[in-house]
């Protein structure tokens, strides 16, 4: 068990390193100068600045130095702001985590409840209504929903602040803008998974043994039916927890999403790599967690894995 854990961690570490290395070399290969500005600085000063941050060295040398700093958990300085990357992550990530957590806390229970309800009334009017509504939520992205909510509830009605992040009232609209898209996607996966599980031989066998519909649903179909939703939830959670640019920008939330986009546009390579590192680490960790939960939920997955291991 311990060996398996170490092995798993090792594979994830190697994946993280590979992603960082690939990102480093792609960013280094296609880069413009980070000092390209309309009002140019003298060539000699530009070269001096590039020397100071190591851009004059071969890319492989730059990578080695970056990895050496990374081993000390030093992600370097921002090339644009007077901040270290560690400082940027420390100040921005908590906001993204909070926003993402609140959105998931709203989306997951809603998706579960409505998904089970729709699956249990498959083909009925409630199922059709919920499917139509969630399609709409998927089609309306947060960067459209956000401003609509602001105009209605902040400007017209004055119920919530426009840029009030940091207060309970200030969190309501950003969460309402972000949660529906995830809730809608999860709902469809929960509903679809349970419907499929209800058609499986084990569910038919349970009904044949005289189990009630409710028992078949809750006792036999629910857990295996959640597997597709859990497969989606890992990457989705990683994405929403590490920054959603559109919502952060509209609601003036100082999260990480904005830093990632700005780092690309400004060629702030250290910040770019720092955000890639955080996102990849979250993705790997959360995918492992949701894979584990999926395996617990669906015994067939455990059996498959045992079979694969021979």
């Amino acid at each position: 068990m311990a060996l398996a854990l170490v092995g798993s961690l090792g594979r994830k570490g190697a994946t993280l390193l590979a992603v960082l290395t690939l990102s480093f070399f792609i960013a280094g290969w296609i880069r413009p100068s980070p000092f390209a500005e309309e009002r140019g600085i003298p060539e000699a000063v530009r070269r001096a600045e590039e020397r100071r941050i190591g851009l004059d060295r071969p890319l492989a040398v730059q990578w080695a130095r970056y990895m050496g700093r990374l081993a000390r958990l030093d992600l370097g300085d921002s090339w644009r702001y007077d901040q270290t990357v560690n400082g940027i992550l420390a100040s921005a990530l908590p906001h993204s985590l909070l926003l993402g957590s609140l959105a998931l806390a709203a989306a997951i229970p809603a998706a579960l409840l409505l998904g089970v309800l729709a699956a249990s009334r498959r083909g009925g009017w409630l199922d059709a209504l919920l499917l139509a509504k969630t399609t709409l939520w998927i089609l309306v992205p947060p960067f459209v929903l956000g401003p609509v909510l602001l105009v209605l509830f902040s400007v017209r009605l004055g119920w919530f602040p426009v840029a009030g992040w940091g207060t309970a009232r200030g969190a309501v609209l950003p969460v309402l803008a972000l949660a529906p898209a995830y809730a809608a996607a999860l709902f469809r996966l929960v509903r679809g998974g349970i419907v499929e599980a209800l058609d499986e031989p084990f569910s038919r066998a349970a009904r044949a043994r005289g189990c009630s519909r409710a028992r078949v649903l809750w006792r036999h179909a629910l857990r295996p039916g959640l597997a597709p939703a859990l497969g989606y939830l890992g990457p989705a959670a990683a994405s929403v927890l590490t920054g959603t640019l559109a919502v952060e920008k509209v609601f003036a939330i100082p999260g990480l999403g904005k830093h990632f986009v700005d780092a690309v546009l400004q060629y702030d390579r250290n910040v770019l790599l720092g955000t890639v590192l955080v996102y990849t680490a979250f993705l790997l960790a959360l995918t492992a967690v949701t894979d584990g939960i999926a395996a617990w939920a669906d015994p067939r997955m455990r059996a498959d894995r045992r079979g694969a291991r021979g």
Partner: protein, 515 residues
Amino acid sequence: MSPLRRIAPSLLAACALAPAADAPVPPLRVTVAAEPESLDPALARSVSAVFVCRQLFEGLVELDPETLEPLPASASSWEVSDGGRTWRFRLGARRWSDGTPVTSADFARAWRRALDPRLAAPYAYLLFGIRGARAAYEGKGDPAAIEIEAPDPGTLVARLERPDPSFAALLSFPTFFPVPKGAEADAAWTEPGRIVSNGPYRLAARRRQRDLDLAESEGYGGARPAIPAARILVIEDLNTGVMMFRAGEADWVRDLPASQIPALRPLPGFSSAPYLGTYFYRVNVRRKPFDDPRVRRALGRSIDRDLLVKALLPGGEAPARSFVPPGLPPYDPPAGPAFDPEAARKDLADAGFPGGRGFPAFSILFSTSETHRRIAEAISGMWSKHLGVAADLKPMEAKAALEATQKGDYDVARSSWIADVPDPMNFLEIFESGSGNNRTGWASGPYDGLLASARDEADPARRAATLARAEAILLDGGPILPIHVYANQALVSPRIRGLAANPLNHQLLKRLRRE
């Protein structure tokens, strides 16, 4: 009757009549569109960083908010001698926010620091007028030879290479602001709790990417600001800024989305004023057939700027008739080429391309933006219609577009230039033949000569006339096609007074008051 009962009525009356304890003045809430990249005045580059530095720090001089004339600030007076080359400043009584006096040595140290190439100060070039400065910055001279002296704590002397009547106005730029002792050794000196500033406000708190709280600096020494506290809100989404204004969460929104300007105009508090900046196209004269001034003249004369501005730019922008925008008296910009398609066709035919026949297809390079695209499409259409030439659009990510322009890898490229200081030289010098900001390959001996001559001219009116002759050369078949002059729009609460619409959008919070 007990003594208490005798005096009770008087006591009660006194309580009723006593003024209520002064209600705290709410902070002025101002939005900026980007997080300041640094609060170090020597490193401030963006509009938001320069704006914040202007509130926290104070230079020798500040600009009159209406006329942009230099006014005493940290310097109580100055005198100019030696034919305009020696400037002697007397400092007024000012203190840093930690209570220590501001001295001339603080200014001298800051100016030398900005000229250290290791700092890579983006506006170090503004100090190149000081004798010895450029040579030291370029590593060709001894930094000790930079002629900035602090003979006593209340006197600062600077000697210039040449007389420069606009030197006082330059000093209002943050690069000339003082920095506290120890700034060189402490990379984190601008952090809240550590930063020491000499302006009317100090930094009370900062939440990165969110807001900065400014509070009145008790030790300042100048006139106390009427509004003792301000919160500068970092609001990148311009639509959010407008909604905050409408919801009463912001008093002054400094950046507005262009698409909403027509809808915002009727709002009380909307303002629009010309801005000292020009939107123009560069033409790469290193590439044929753009090396022929007749081709460049033809391109310039076939742009209907009035139509373009009316149709595409609802924010109060004006067609650009020249490169240097109006609004810098005594400078009177010369009139550039007017829209004249017939003359344009004749120029093109004289250049060997009658009706556009044989003219190679070329591209208009611009950084990806809806506004740039629409303008490029319109101009491409005008060139096709009036000249019969084909220009396709080449959008590119901003930094990549800048690099392409810097490397000369373009035919025609969108550009803009915003003045740092109210001086036409700030525009015209970028097209000197040796300038790193030229990027067109264009070089004109007479143009360079006129600029050099203007630099030696102490009389403002004669200097302006010389610069106007230089600009006339630039506009007549030169490497640029001016398109429009920028405008600056804002939403300001009608209760806020003291904001003046100057073309640099140079605003000081200490001058504002709330009604």
